[in-house]
Amino acid sequence: MTLETTTNTNQGKPQIISLSSDDFAVAEKNTGTQVLSRPSLSYWKDAWIRLKKNKQSIVALVTVILVVLATLFGPLLYQVDPAEQVMGRVSEGPSFGKHVTVIDDSSNFKDTILEGVEASPTFEAAKLEAATTFELTQPASSQGVALKWSPVKGASGYAIYRATEKPTVVTNLGVPITEITAGNQVTYLDNYDLKEKHYFYSVIAKNVEEAPTFKTLEVRLTEGILLTDAQSIDPNAKIGDSVKIPAKPFGTDALGRDLLSRLISGGRVSLFIGFFAPFLSVLIGVAVGGISGYFGGKTDNWIMRFTDFVMALPFLLFMILFKVVFGAGPGEDGIGPMLVSLVALSWTGPTRLTRGQILQLRESEFVQASRLLGAKPLYLIFRHLLPNTLGVILVSLTFSIPSAIFTEAFLSFIGMGVAPPTASWGSMCNDGVKSFLTTPHEFIFPAAIIAIVVLAFNILGDGLRDALDPKMRSIE
């Protein structure tokens, strides 16, 4: 079929163009000119690539994952009861399955009372002499030092002193350990707060006043284990044997509880609060902020006024107050109240953030276009508004995790947090700080783990912010 048509040219003369049906054939698809040179990246893929380039953030991410895995699966690998108290192993430093000598139970120790020696003679103290011998009756260990000395003529008693440096004068013999009030008792078992160190014991005879001279014994303590404790590890253990005791990689605390297993179970508490409180706050925040931002007007006004009020509450003050209100009854661990109080006070941040984002996005072109095409509010919210706020919210979540961990630690440190015997990193710091000068490991380990985890989250948060929100990228 041919068709003839007339068009007007500038000359005004009609001109005839002939068109064939070929001219109306469907054009071939023009391929080849617009091939994408790179694979299309979704927002999240793009962010992940950017995050991967940031070495610090990856290290932080790995640290966080390792700590979380350790607290989740640690109890399967390290099966030590965190609440078990071993009284023979109090405030021990880190050790890895060492061998210790079995010594007799202190209940089997009998004081030697000499016969034929007067218990309370009358004698001038200034003329008292020093004991001629001063020795150990069994190997000295951290479980006890059994001392024996020769009786002094005219003594009505003895005083035992203990020092960590060799005493030279009678006025400086160290810590008074005991006073014996009989001249014929010549033994003593010292098991007061012994460490595996050098000690200098001094014995000084007494008769009302102390003698002018003394006898010193230098003792190096090895680590010992009491017979009954040893028999619970190895039923065949005898006095003088060497027994391998369980490793304590992080040492023990002042009640003889294993520090590693307490760190793991404490980590469960600290991280549970650290993750769930911000997570719940964000959930509430997204819901409330979303409603406020999307509907605007009066609703928005009232909600925002209310958040302003909640934000004005002094945080730590009300944290303590609410914790008391939602109180922990006797025997409860106090984790629930802590979580509720944290959420009740920290939902305002995410709310404001979400509202701001939604307000901004609501007026953006792509949302208007979608609305023009007939999108319903719910579709708009879930398809366009929320996914686009997710990045910013995720960043704020990452930053609020360390602050939640911090809050828990602070409160537990001043004794307003989780209730004992439940451990958390903060309460472990509180327990450990009391003996910081003598056994610093009890404080340093929990404090270090808080610092490491919080540091990791802060670095990760910085990295995520740079990766997810290039606009907010911190200026380098």
Partner: protein
């Protein structure tokens, strides 16, 4: 200007009222009561005590009395410390917390601005990198850890010199204040340094800085009268929240250093369920913080010519 101030003060009062109400309600939901206090008391004594503290009246009446008294500035009498009024406690112990707080704020703003400026001016150099690292540590280590290590360090120095270089606890002289104040402001200092640095970096890229350079102004002049002046403004806005953080952060520091401040009293009152002291101190602290923030905002408006308070 005046309208803005009045408006802010009014909303501040409203906030304080809100704080007071929340505290009142919270305290009446607390399980247990302060009168029992671990001791068995006969019904007669109980009744007398309830009458003395007005606990026999219905909650709504108690609330009205409480708000009325508060308006008069009367916070009531402590339950656990016989006949000591809450006002008395505040008068005796708030100056301690406030002195410590002001000293801490002074340290952290001055040091923070200097450190942040140095990091910003020498960005990418060693001082910046170490500064950024120090800031991260400052943000990530809990203040009680700094407190404990600080005490330990000072103890060792004292032992080494054989004299008391600085006391490690207690209260009384200026020397007592140094260590707690340093510990108290460390995390705020870290935030301020970071803020100052990024704010300075933003200013450096502005057109007016280029203009100043093109005019041939000396480096120092550009820094002090153009860069610093503009970069310092966000730092001032941060001061409101910083005061809040430092005053409430005082709990931990006062606990570690045995300082007789208000924070310690608050913690003690909570442990003993001393209603009136808890309510009084919460409202007092709340009001203090709210008005501090307002004050900082007003000062900010006065300093920054771009912000016109009358329009706000």
């Amino acid at each position: 200007m005046l309208r803005y101030v009045i408006k802010r003060l009014f909303s501040g009062l409203l906030t304080v009222y809100f704080i007071a109400t929340v505290t009142f309600l919270a305290m009446h939901f607390v399980p247990g009561d302060p009168i029992t206090g671990g001791k068995a008391r006969s019904p007669e004594i109980r009744k007398n005590l309830e009458q003395k503290y007005g606990l026999d009246k219905p909650v709504s009446v108690q609330y009205v009395i409480y708000i009325k008294n508060m308006l008069k500035g009367d916070f009531g009498i402590s339950y656990t410390q016989q006949n000591r009024s809450v006002n008395d406690i505040i008068r005796a112990h708030f100056p301690v917390s406030a002195t410590l707080g002001i000293f801490a704020i002074l340290i952290c703003t001055s040091v923070g601005i200097v450190m942040g400026s140095l990091a910003g001016v020498y960005r990418g150099r060693a001082i910046d990198k170490w500064g950024t690292f120090a800031v991260l540590i400052g943000i990530s280590v809990p203040s009680f850890v700094f407190a404990v290590f600080g005490q330990y360090l000072i103890t060792e120095i004292n032992k080494f010199t054989g004299s008391t270089f600085l006391p490690v606890g207690g209260w009384g002289t200026f020397k007592h204040m140094v260590l707690p104040a340093i510990v108290l402001e460390l995390s705020t200092l870290a935030f301020l340094t970071r803020l100052m640095r990024s704010s300075l970096l933003e200013v450096v890229n502005q057109d007016y800085i280029r203009t100043a350079k093109a005019k041939g102004l000396p480096q120092l002049r550009i820094f002090f009268s153009h860069e610093l002046r503009n970069a310092i403004l966000p730092v001032i806005t941060f001061l409101g929240p910083a005061i809040a953080a430092i005053t409430t952060g005082g709990f931990v520091v006062e606990y570690v250093f045995a300082i007789p401040g208000l924070g310690q009293y608050f913690v003690q009152a909570v442990q003993q369920l001393d209603y009136t002291v808890i309510m009084g101190l919460t409202v007092f602290y709340g009001a203090f913080l709210v008005f501090m923030v307002i004050l900082v905002d007003i000062i900010y408006g006065l300093i920054d010519p771009r912000i016109s308070l009358s329009k706000a």
